[in-house]
Amino acid sequence: MTNPIETDVVIVGAGPVGLFAVFELGLYDLKCHLIDILDRPGGQCAELYPEKPIYDIPAWPEITGQALVDRLMEQIAPFKPEFHFNRMVAGFRRLDDGRFEVTTDEGELLVAKAVVIAAGGGSFQAKRPPVPGIENYEGQSVFYSVRRMEEFRDQDLLIVGGGDSALDWTLNLRSVAKSVTLVHRRPDFRAAPDSVNKMFALNETGDIRFQVGQVTGLSGADGQLTAATIKSPDGEIEIPCTRMLPFFGLTMKLGPIADWGLELNENLIKVDTEKFETNIPGVFAIGDINWYPGKLKLILSGFHEAALMTQAVKRLVSPGEKVVFQYTTSSTSLQKKLGVS
């Protein structure tokens, strides 16, 4: 275990709401660390609809998902938030001194005075393709990401999908795998044109094989894959393979937070509407992840929740201190923090 990182607030999730919480908490001198399983900020906005316009962000008649995230990053920059990307929040416990210890799946240890869960629809995780029996091969022959390329050495590898991950790994794993077959349901790809051209060139020379079709079944025994059945335009075919990497996008799962002892309402965390605190004092939940009567899963609701949560966190962290409400337009002390005066 590494030395613990000590901070005021740990925010679980770097979606739009987690990001805006940095701003509100920052105005009250509260320092934040954010953890997200994704490799960049923005949550659903960045992952699911970066190029789609949103029309209901106050004062932005139209702004794309990615632009909103970029603006938020700009807005919170003065508070120097620290990000821990590609990390799943795993463990959680209350320490004897009242603070909280949060651990990640990579073994980092963070100690904070308050925890803000802004986990949205849950952590993004690879989607399991709807192939019957695939779960029997997961972890042994079927993988959803490449942690070490060596795991694919001298294997007959089947890669399934039509996005950048599928194309990139087809090109990269070719050098270690015995053979690489790429299966996609159509000859058009959602990947960078350059990778697609490279892939087609390698297919021409026989270095890899590209097959149009959809995986409908797997064969093998004891978790060891031997072949995949493909429904292709020319009928059903079998492709021998010992490893499979399906890339079917991401889905959201609540994950380890479900075991923290939080009171849930259908996978959403129950909070009050004054502080947005959970049943565990000191642990707050804002944005899509929370539930209260009348809850709307809107970005603007999450922003409001962040502002109110901050008042409660400030009182918790600085007991006895008067929490002064100020406007950013007129308070020179807030403007100093923002670096504008």
Binding site: L48, P130, G162, H184, R185, R186, D188, F248
Partner: protein, 106 residues
């Protein structure tokens, strides 16, 4: 109002009076047709409202646009007349339209 029919995977037929301008997905949800999940709420950002358009209607309904075609990559058992039902808007010419729900969504 336009009459459309959504056939669930088990063969149950849902004959629906659909409002013009509404999507087939919205009508499926309103009538609790099993097998249409519509996780993203109609933003063409998931593939859980996948349907097969009856071949007799395929030409009239038309082919998916590029964004929808991309999303269909995530659907299960995609066929030549596959569409995402949130992208099919009901209009007068669709009177009698029949779509079928697949065995499962992604």
């Amino acid at each position: 109002m336009t009459k459309i029919t959504i056939v669930a995977f088990d063969g149950t037929r849902f004959d629906i009076e659909a409002e013009n301008g509404s999507t087939v997905m919205e009508n499926a949800i309103r009538n609790s047709v099993p097998g249409i999940e519509a996780e993203c709420g109609g933003a063409c950002a998931c593939a859980t409202c996948h349907v097969y358009v009856d071949p007799a209607w395929a030409e009239k309904v038309g082919a998916p646009e590029a964004m929808e075609e991309d999303m269909l990559d995530f659907a299960f058992d995609v066929r030549p007349t596959s569409r995402l039902s949130c992208q099919i808007r009901v209009r007068d010419e669709f009177d009698g339209l029949v779509v079928q729900v697949p065995e499962r969504q992604a």
